[in-house]
C-alpha cells in the first residue's frame, strides 16, 4: 500500500511541476500576477511530493520489500543497512529519482531564497525549472518506474553489484548530482533572461551564488568519485578518462568558465551574451552527460542495465532543451545589449583567456569522448580513444592556464599592467623554483618535466597567496594594521585564493604520482619481501574470512622501515555469494600525504600469490586540492556582498519593469 502511495505521489508531482511550468509562463505573457505567484508554491509542493516518493522507495529498501522489482533486483536482506540505503540510487530507476529529487530541491530553493528576485524573472526561472522537472518525471514514470511490483514476491533479493557496496556510493552520486543538476538553475536563469530580452549586472549577481554552489558540489563529487575508483577497483589508478568520468568533467570545465565569466558580467557588465550562452552550454553538458551515462550508449559500472527506449527518451529531452535553448538564444541574443569595453591586458582580458582555454579544453574532452560513438554510428568502424589522447591535448591546453592563474587577481579591471603583476610574482616564481630544486636534490633522477610541473604547482600556491599579501599590505604597513586589513578582505578574495591554491595542490599531487610512483608485480610466498617507497613489505600468509554477504581471502603484510615494524596491511579478494562475483579490496596505508597500495592477484599452483605493490607519493594532494577548491567556492558563497547586493538591485529594478509594460 505504502509503495502505491509513493508511486501516486510521483504522479501528483508530475502534475504539480507541469502546473509550475505552464501557469507562470502564461502569467508573464498576460502580465497576470496571480498566475505568476503560483510558481513558488507549486515548486515547494513538487519538492515535498518527490521527497515523499523518494522516502517510500528508501523505506522499501530498508525493510527489504522484495515485492518491489527494483528492490529485488538490487538489494539483499543480509546487506549492511548503509548499503541498503545507498542502494536506492545504486541502480538506474533509483538514481533517476534522485536526479529528479535534487532538481525539484533546487526549484524549492529558488522559490525560498528568491523572494528578492523581480516577480517576472522568478516566475520564468521557476517555469523553466518546472519544464525540466516535467520531462524527467515523465521519463521516470514512463520508462524507469521504480515502484513496479512483482507477484508473487521473491523470498530473497539479487543483491547490489559488489563494486557499489561501499560508502563511496553513499556520497559520490548525491554530491555529483547536486553539482550536475545545480547548473539547471543557471540554465533557467539564462532562458528567463532570453524570454525577457533583458539582462544586466544584477542578473549575474543572482546567478553567481547558484553557479558557485553547483560548482563546489560538482568539484567534490568528481573528487569523491575519483578516490572511490582509486581504492575500490584495485587498479591503483585515480583517473581513467573513462567516458563516464568525462561526462562529469566536461560540465565542470564549462561551469568553471561560467563562474569566471559571470564575474566579469557582474563587475563590468561585459561578456553578457557569452555568459548566457555558457550558462546554457554548461547545463547542456550536464544533460549530455546524463544521456551518455543513462542511455546505455556507453556501458560501464555506472550504466547499470540498458533499455533502448530510455536512450531515445533522454535523447528527445536533450534535443528539446538544448535545441530549444540554442534557438531561443539565436533569436534573442541580438536584443541583449553588449556592455563594457576593456583593454586586452586587464582583469577582464585575463578572464576571457581563462574562458577561451577552459571551453577549448571542454570541447577537446567532448571530442575525444564522442568521436568513437560518432564514427561507429557513421562508418561502423570501432576505435578507442585512450588516456594518451586526453593527456596530450588536455595537458598542453592547461599549461598556459596554470601559468596565467596567479596573474588574474593581480591585474586591475579595465586596464592592467602585466609587467607590474609579473614583478609581484617574482617571489612566487622563486618559491616554485626553490622547491623544485629541493625535490631534485632530495629525490634525483626522474623526468625534467616533472620538476617543472612541481615548480608550477608551488608557484600557483605562492602566487595565489601573493594577492592576499599585497592587498593586506603585509610588510608595507604595521603588522596590526596589516592583520586588520587581512581579516577585513572580502570573502571572495579568500575564496579565489583558496580555489587557486587548490589547483596548485592538485597539480603537485598529479605530477608527483605520475612521475615518481613505483609499481612492483611479484609472485610472493609467505616470508618473501618486497621494497616500495623506502618501506619493506613482508608477506606473512593468507587467511580465509566470511563477511555478511561475501567470503574473502586476505593476505597479511608487515610493513617495516629501517628494520623496525611500523604497521601492517590486509589486502583481500572477495567473492560475493549472491552474484558469484569476485572483487579486489586493495590494502592501503597512508604515510603523510603518500600511500602504500597493495592488491592481490591470482593464486599460483605452487602456493604463491601474485601481488601488486605501489608506492604512491603525494597522492592525497590530488583530492585535498579538490577539497580546498570546494572550500574556496564555499567561502566565496558566504561573501556578504553577494547577499546584501541583490535585494538593493531588485528594489531599483521593479519600477523600471512596471514602467516598461
Amino acid at each position: 500500500m505504502i509503495i502505491e502511495l509513493g508511486h501516486y505521489a510521483l504522479v501528483l508531482a508530475l502534475a504539480t511541476v507541469l502546473i509550475q511550468s505552464v501557469l507562470p509562463l502564461i502569467g508573464t505573457i498576460r502580465n497576470d500576477r496571480s498566475l505568476m505567484a503560483v510558481a513558488p508554491a507549486a515548486a515547494l509542493a513538487g519538492f515535498l511530493l518527490v521527497l515523499f516518493s523518494f522516502s517510500v522507495l528508501t523505506f522499501a529498501y530498508v525493510v527489504s520489500d522484495f515485492s518491489v522489482a527494483n528492490v529485488w533486483e538490487n538489494s539483499h536482506s543480509l546487506k549492511p543497512m548503509i548499503y541498503k540505503i545507498s542502494g536506492v540510487w545504486g541502480n538506474h530507476e533509483g538514481s533517476m529519482l534522485l536526479w529528479l529529487l535534487i532538481l525539484v530541491f533546487f526549484s524549492a530553493l529558488v522559490s525560498t531564497f528568491g523572494a528578492n528576485l523581480p516577480e517576472r524573472l522568478r516566475a520564468n526561472v521557476l517555469a523553466i525549472q518546472g519544464l525540466i522537472s516535467t520531462a524527467f518525471a515523465l521519463f521516470i514514470l514512463l520508462t524507469s518506474n521504480p515502484f513496479i511490483r512483482l507477484s508473487p514476491a521473491p523470498a530473497e533479493g539479487r543483491d547490489l553489484n559488489p563494486v557499489l557496496q561501499d560508502v563511496g556510493l553513499a556520497i559520490h552520486p548525491p554530491l555529483l548530482y547536486l553539482g550536475y543538476v545545480g547548473f539547471s538553475v543557471c540554465f533557467s536563469f539564462a532562458i528567463a533572461a532570453l524570454i525577457e530580452g533583458r539582462i544586466d549586472a544584477a542578473w549575474a549577481r543572482w546567478v553567481r551564488p547558484w553557479t558557485l554552489a553547483a560548482w563546489s558540489f560538482l568539484t567534490a563529487g568528481i573528487a569523491m568519485g575519483s578516490y572511490w575508483a582509486y581504492y575500490e577497483l584495485g587498479w591503483g589508478g585515480w583517473w581513467f578518462w573513462d567516458p563516464v568520468e568525462n561526462a562529469s568533467f566536461i560540465p565542470w570545465l564549462a561551469g568553471t568558465a561560467l563562474l569566471h565569466s559571470a564575474l566579469v558580467m557582474e563587475k563590468r557588465e561585459a561578456l553578457k551574451i557569452w555568459t548566457v550562452l555558457l550558462a546554457i552550454l554548461t547545463f547542456s553538458m550536464s544533460l549530455l552527460g546524463t544521456f551518455l551515462v543513462r542511455s546505455g550508449v556507453l556501458t560501464s559500472v555506472h550504466a547499470f542495465a540498458t533499455d533502448p527506449t530510455r536512450g531515445v527518451f533522454i535523447l528527445a529531452i536533450l534535443v528539446f532543451f538544448i535545441g530549444g535553448a540554442l534557438s531561443l538564444f539565436a533569436f534573442r541574443a541580438a536584443t541583449l545589449k553588449a556592455g563594457g569595453l576593456f583593454a586586452p591586458i586587464s582583469r577582464e582580458g585575463a578572464l576571457v583567456l581563462n574562458n577561451l582555454i577552459l571551453t577549448t579544453a571542454a570541447a577537446t574532452v567532448l571530442t575525444g569522448t564522442l568521436y568513437p560513438l560518432v564514427l561507429e554510428a557513421l562508418t561502423g568502424e570501432k576505435i578507442s580513444v585512450g588516456p594518451p589522447f586526453f593527456n596530450l591535448t588536455f595537458g598542453l591546453l592547461m599549461l598556459p592556464l596554470l601559468l596565467a592563474v596567479p596573474f588574474g587577481p593581480l591585474l586591475a579591471w579595465k586596464r592592467g599592467d602585466v609587467f607590474a603583476a609579473g614583478q609581484r610574482l617574482f617571489a612566487a616564481v622563486a618559491v616554485g623554483l626553490v622547491v623544485a630544486a629541493g625535490v631534485v636534490y632530495a629525490h634525483g633522477g626522474g623526468p625534467v618535466l616533472a620538476y617543472f610541473g612541481i615548480a608550477i604547482g608551488f608557484y600557483m600556491i605562492a602566487g595565489s597567496l601573493t594577492d592576499l599579501w599585497m592587498r593586506a599590505g603585509i610588510g608595507k604597513v604595521k603588522a596590526n594594521v596589516a592583520f586588520r586589513r587581512f581579516i577585513g578582505l572580502p570573502g571572495s578574495a579568500f575564496g579565489t585564493a583558496l580555489a587557486h591554491i587548490g589547483i596548485g595542490v592538485t597539480v603537485i599531487g598529479v605530477i608527483a604520482v605520475t612521475a615518481f610512483e613505483t609499481e612492483h608485480v611479484v609472485e610472493m610466498k609467505p616470508g618473501m619481501q618486497v621494497e616500495a617507497g623506502g618501506y619493506m613489505l613482508t608477506f606473512d600468509g593468507m587467511r580465509r574470512g566470511q563477511g555478511p554477504n561475501y567470503s574473502e581471502e586476505s593476505g597479511h603484510f608487515t610493513v617495516a622501515q629501517g628494520g623496525v615494524t611500523v604497521t601492517d596491511i590486509w589486502s583481500s579478494k572477495r567473492l560475493y555469494t549472491a552474484r558469484r562475483m569476485p572483487t579486489t579490496e586493495a590494502g592501503i596505508r597512508t604515510f603523510g600525504l603518500s600511500q602504500l597500495y597493495v592488491s592481490l592477484g591470482d593464486a599460483m599452483a605452487d602456493g604463491g600469490i601474485v601481488v601488486r605493490v605501489w608506492w604512491k607519493p603525494m597522492i592525497l594532494c590530488i583530492w585535498i586540492g579538490a577539497l580546498i577548491m570546494m572550500a574556496g567556492g564555499a567561502v566565496s558563497l558566504c561573501d556578504r556582498r553577494l547577499r546584501v547586493g541583490a535585494p538593493q538591485k531588485a528594489r531599483k529594478m521593479k519600477p523600471v519593469l512596471e514602467a516598461a509594460e
Binding site: H302, P344, A363, M581
Partner: protein
C-alpha cells in the same frame, strides 16, 4: 594601438589559439587511436608489427597458462579463428575462461600478440555489439551484466 587594432589582435589571438587546439587534437588522434579487431578480421587487416589495436573475443577454454612470474598466455577466439596472447601483470577480477575479453597491445615482429592491458568484458564497451551478436548467432552464451569500469 587604436581600438580596432586592439580588437583585431584579441580576435586574431583567440583564433590562433583555437587553430592550434584543433591541430593538437588531430595530431593526438593520429597518435593514440586504437582500432578494434576480432581474430577473424586480422587476416585481411594486414597490420604492421607494432600497430596498437584492441583485440576482442572469448578466452578459449583450457588455453590459460601461467608462465614465469606474472606472465600469462591465453588464446582469444571468435569461435572461427584464434590468436595467442601474452600478458604480464594481474588479470582483472572478471577474467575467466570461456568469457569475453579485450586485450590492448600490438603484434611483435615474431607475430605474437603482446597485450599491455586486459579488460574483462561483461558489457558492450569491452564486447562490442556486433561481436556479441556474431558470437550469439554461433550459439555462444554470453552471461552476466555486471561490469567493472
Amino acid at each position: 594601438m587604436t581600438r580596432k587594432q586592439k580588437r583585431l589582435a584579441v580576435i586574431g589571438g583567440g583564433v590562433a589559439f583555437l587553430v592550434a587546439a584543433v591541430l593538437l587534437v588531430m595530431f593526438a588522434f593520429s597518435q593514440s587511436i586504437a582500432y578494434f579487431y576480432v581474430p577473424g578480421d586480422l587476416a585481411k587487416a594486414n597490420l604492421a608489427p607494432g600497430t596498437r589495436i584492441r583485440l576482442g573475443g572469448l578466452v578459449e577454454a583450457g588455453t590459460v597458462k601461467r608462465g614465469e612470474g606474472s606472465t600469462v598466455t591465453f588464446t582469444v577466439t571468435d569461435t572461427l579463428s584464434t590468436v595467442p596472447v601474452t600478458y604480464t601483470g594481474i588479470l582483472p577480477d572478471l577474467f575467466r575462461e570461456g568469457q569475453g575479453v579485450v586485450a590492448e597491445g600490438a603484434f611483435g615482429t615474431d607475430g605474437l600478440f603482446v597485450a599491455d592491458t586486459v579488460l574483462a568484458k561483461h558489457d558492450e564497451t569491452y564486447m562490442p555489439k556486433d561481436v556479441a551478436d556474431r558470437l550469439k548467432a554461433q550459439g555462444v552464451e554470453l552471461s552476466g551484466k555486471e561490469t567493472i569500469k
